[in-house]
């Protein structure tokens, strides 16, 4: 479980995130929505430790991790798939997966973990020995998600997993994310600009605008308050 209280993140004078409170529950998905520049990536990066926190706190399963560095947070089980489909382009698919597994929590052995991934995404098995940079966008995203999940994390942070992908692949990916949440009981926080698909799988929603939270609550309440139609004004 991830709990964030009153978090602020600044780059020098740019206040990227202002007093954000929210979190993610085990086995459930929280969607962070907003236009570009809203602060979604900055928020996720602050959680995984890549960005410095100016004020506020983050708790992982009750433990305060605010002071810990990215490396330690990773060891504690925070997995972060960064924006822009970041991967090791000149390593093979299998090398990417092995590396992710090796430096994750290793709750599962390598062979069964790899078999799992290949069963889920047969195309990755086909391309196992191919350099990751040569895969298509969708295949790369499958690999990146698998790298995050093969670590047996406690918290999964996904930054715009649908960016640049065709609708069919996006659906496939989101199916995977949704299944994984249920089967592994991992707390998932994902950011998306494309609200629709994220809303389908999430139970909680936060909408950011220029770093500040303009809505925070359950998806149910978003719909009940009739604010779903308001989303465009929250963005634009």
């Amino acid at each position: 479980m991830l709990e964030i209280t009153d978090l602020s993140v600044s780059y020098g004078a740019i206040k990227a995130v202002k007093n954000f409170s929210g979190g993610a529950k085990d086995g459930l998905i929280t969607a962070i929505l907003g236009a570009n520049g809203a602060g979604k990536s900055s928020l996720l990066r602050a959680i995984s430790g890549l960005n410095l926190i100016t004020s506020g706190s983050i708790k992982l399963d009750g433990t305060d991790i605010t002071r810990l560095g990215a490396h330690e947070r990773s060891r504690l089980g925070i997995a972060h798939a960064m924006e822009g489909r970041r991967l090791f382009r000149h390593l093979t698919v299998e090398e990417n997966l092995r590396l992710a597994w090796r430096f994750g929590t290793r709750r599962v052995l390598l062979k069964p973990a790899l078999d799992d991934v290949y069963a889920r995404f047969p195309i990755l098995a086909e391309k196992a020995k191919i350099h990751a940079g040569l895969l298509s966008g969708g295949q790369q995203q499958m690999m990146i998600l698998s790298c995050a999940t093969i670590r047996s994390p406690s918290v999964l942070l996904l930054d715009e997993p649908s960016l640049g992908l065709a609708p069919l692949i996006t659906t496939q990916i989101y199916q995977f994310i949704s299944d994984f949440a249920k089967s592994s009981n991992v707390a998932i926080m994902l950011s998306e600009q494309m609200a629709a698909i994220a809303l389908k799988v999430s139970t909680d929603v936060c909408v950011l605008r220029q770093g500040a939270s303009v809505f925070s609550g359950s998806k149910q309440s978003l719909i009940e308050q009739g604010r779903a139609g308001d989303l465009s004004s929250m963005y634009l």
Binding site: Y11, G12, A13, I14, K15, A35, N36, G37, A38, E83, E160, L163, G164, E192, Q193, M194, A195, A196, I197, A198, L199, Q210, I223, A228, G229, L231, S232, S233, Y235, L236
Partner: protein, 612 residues
């Protein structure tokens, strides 16, 4: 501490104080012991040599690990010409220095194209090549045995126009040349060319955006550096009377780096003290001579980390790159003029006198490898309007602005500025044509004041040469003064006059944004391209910015800005263009944009969410 610095700076820069110092040393020379006189002569040579590093590394930020080569070219050059043709040093040293300068200029071609680590290797290699040539070309240089019989005052063999030069005469000539060189360099550093050297180091893109020609600027830095090193080498040759190749090995290059770094990389005053210190130290302190390598090693390893500013930073106020006297006069005149006019504070020199500029972009496609960033985009940016470019990440906004600004050409398609095809024009050319841009994060010279940074914008408007700058010709004062007046008008427009003379690195973010905007404005844009200008600004600062943009519109300047901040754009822009995945999906006003289904879909996904 600061008051001590102020006092020392006043002393070090006051013409009268310097004149007194010069006169005292000049006329006091005969009263010094021979040995002291000789050491002082070496110190002067070192000062000159260090200035060559000051120009290339301190100002232009180009590292050189083989500068002994230029020193050597000057030394061997002057000595060989003197011995071969029997000419005196007033001829041979300049010739040798010009040769050194020329070779430095040639080196700037490969050197100017590579990144730092390769530059370091290249200069190391170059230094080694010179050493090998000096060792091996025995016919010319005397080879390993060296070149003796160089006309020298110390040996009594320096005879010029019938007069035998004593060591005192030599010292005086050297003193005069060094003093003149220092004055020249100071004038140069306080000119547009000196300032442009600095910006090359910190951001080549920023330089291009205001019309500073990158290649020429680097060439100038190398050529001037080579000249100074050559002069110092020449004087060295006639001081020692004998040249051996080992005097021009890597240790010489390292020594001059040590002196420059300890003095403070762009502080002439600090470097003078450092040069004198390091010349005297081995003589005075036998201990030092033993530990010299260790000392140099420690200095090089830790000074840049622990003691960046060097002696210059310790003892003096930061050097300034605008002539104080001209600045004071210009500010006075500008204030009087403004008071007399009592106009609104819209700098009239920015007013578009003829017709506002429009930009037409026709079927622009941009491919980076397999990625299509822009897909046959066509757009008319209306003259004199404020247009916003918005869109989700990766939509191609920055790419489009880069193409218009001339940072790189499109894969296909054309760009027209007021009807003429400017597709192939590079950013420097576009800036000169009046297309100026700012950057997502301000690219400024950190230790320059707000004013000095803004003055970079005037670079292409002024036309005096480096020689005129160094000699401080009247033309220079006129052009600088005019630029300074206009600069002050801009400072008032942007309401940052109060911090004009503070270093930007010490100012909050909002000021830095304004400074970059000011620099762009001083370049007299017809069209100004702003990349996320509102990012990081407080509400107050944003309101201010919006007011300024409206003023620019009144002056006839066309404004195109990339923004995410929708509230900032509301009420400000005449037209908003929405890009998504490399194509335009909407053109119109803000209200229409907010309600347009294609735009909503681009940002939110399909409109299922409306019915969720």
């Amino acid at each position: 501490m600061n008051s001590m610095r102020t006092l020392l700076t006043k002393l070090a820069t006051h013409p009268l104080a310097l004149l007194v110092l010069f006169v005292v040393v000049f006329f006091g020379a005969p009263y010094l012991r021979g040995a002291t006189l000789q050491i002082l002569s070496f110190a002067l040579v070192s000062i000159l040599f260090t200035q060559s590093i000051n120009v290339l590394t301190g100002m232009a930020g180009q590292i050189s690990l083989g500068h002994a080569a230029f020193f050597g070219i000057g030394a061997y050059g002057s000595a060989i010409i003197a011995k071969t043709f029997g000419l005196n040093l007033f001829l041979t040293i300049p010739v040798a220095a010009v040769v050194s300068s020329l070779i430095a200029y040639l080196l700037s071609y490969p050197a100017g194209r590579v990144k730092e680590v390769y530059l370091a290797m290249m200069t190391l290699g170059f230094g080694q090549i010179f050493l090998e040539v000096a060792r091996e070309w025995t016919d010319l240089t005397g080879g390993v045995m060296g070149l003796s019989g160089v006309p020298s005052a110390g040996l009594g063999t320096l005879i010029i126009l019938g007069h035998k030069f004593s060591t005192i005469d030599y010292f005086r000539v050297l003193l005069l040349i060094t003093a003149c060189s220092m004055i020249f360099i100071r004038n140069f550093s306080q000119s547009r060319l000196g300032r442009s050297l600095f910006v090359m180091h910190y951001s080549e893109l920023a330089a291009g955006s205001v019309g500073i020609a990158r290649r020429q600027t680097k060439q100038l830095a190398y050529a001037l550096s080579g000249l100074l090193a050559g002069i110092s080498g020449g004087f060295y040759a006639h001081l020692v009377g004998y040249l051996g190749p080992e005097s021009f090995a890597i240790s010489r290059s390292i020594e001059v780096l040590v002196v420059a770094i300890v003095g403070g990389l762009w502080s002439s005053a600090g470097q003078v003290i450092s040069a004198i210190f390091f010349t005297f130290l081995p003589e005075q302190l036998q201990l030092f001579a033993e530990y010299q390598f260790i000392a140099y090693g420690l200095i090089l390893t830790f000074t840049l980390i622990l003691f960046r500013q060097g002696i210059g930073g310790l003892l003096f106020l930061p050097p300034r790159f605008i002539r104080q006297a001209w600045l004071t006069t210009a500010v006075e005149q500008q204030r009087q003029a403004t008071a007399a006019n009592s106009q609104t504070n819209e700098p009239q020199f920015l007013k578009i006198q003829t017709v506002s500029a429009d930009i037409k972009v026709q079927e622009i496609t941009m491919r980076f490898g397999g990625l299509v960033a822009l897909n046959s985009v066509s757009l008319d940016i209306q003259a004199g309007h404020i247009t916003a470019l918005v869109g989700p990440n990766g939509s191609g906004k920055s790419t489009l602005v880069n193409i218009i600004a001339g940072v790189f050409p499109p894969t296909s398609g054309q760009v027209f500025l007021q009807g003429s095809d400017v597709t192939a024009q590079a950013d420097v050319e576009m800036a000169k044509k009046g297309v100026v841009r700012t950057f997502q994060d301000p690219r400024l010279v950190p230790h320059f004041t707000v004013r000095e940074n803004i003055m970079l914008g005037a670079h292409a408007m002024m036309h005096y040469t480096w020689l005129e700058a160094g000699l401080s010709m009247p033309r220079v004062r006129l052009q600088e003064a005019q630029a300074l007046e206009q600069c002050n008008e801009i400072l008032q427009l942007l309401d940052i006059e109060a911090v004009a003379d503070q270093a930007v690195e010490s100012l909050p973010y909002g000021y830095r944004r304004m400074t970059e905007l000011g620099r762009a404005l001083l370049a007299r844009p017809k069209i100004i391209l702003l990349d996320e200008p509102a990012a990081g600004l407080s509400d107050v600062e944003m309101t201010r910015l919006a007011e300024i943009l409206v003023k620019l519109k009144h002056l006839g300047i066309t404004v195109l800005l990339i923004e995410h901040h929708m509230d900032f754009l509301t009420g400000l822009v005449d037209e908003v263009v929405v890009l998504d995945s490399g194509s335009i999906i909407f053109k119109g006003d803000m209200l229409g944009m907010r309600q347009d289904p294609k735009v909503i879909a681009a940002y939110l996904g399909d409109d299922e969410v409306q019915h969720a």
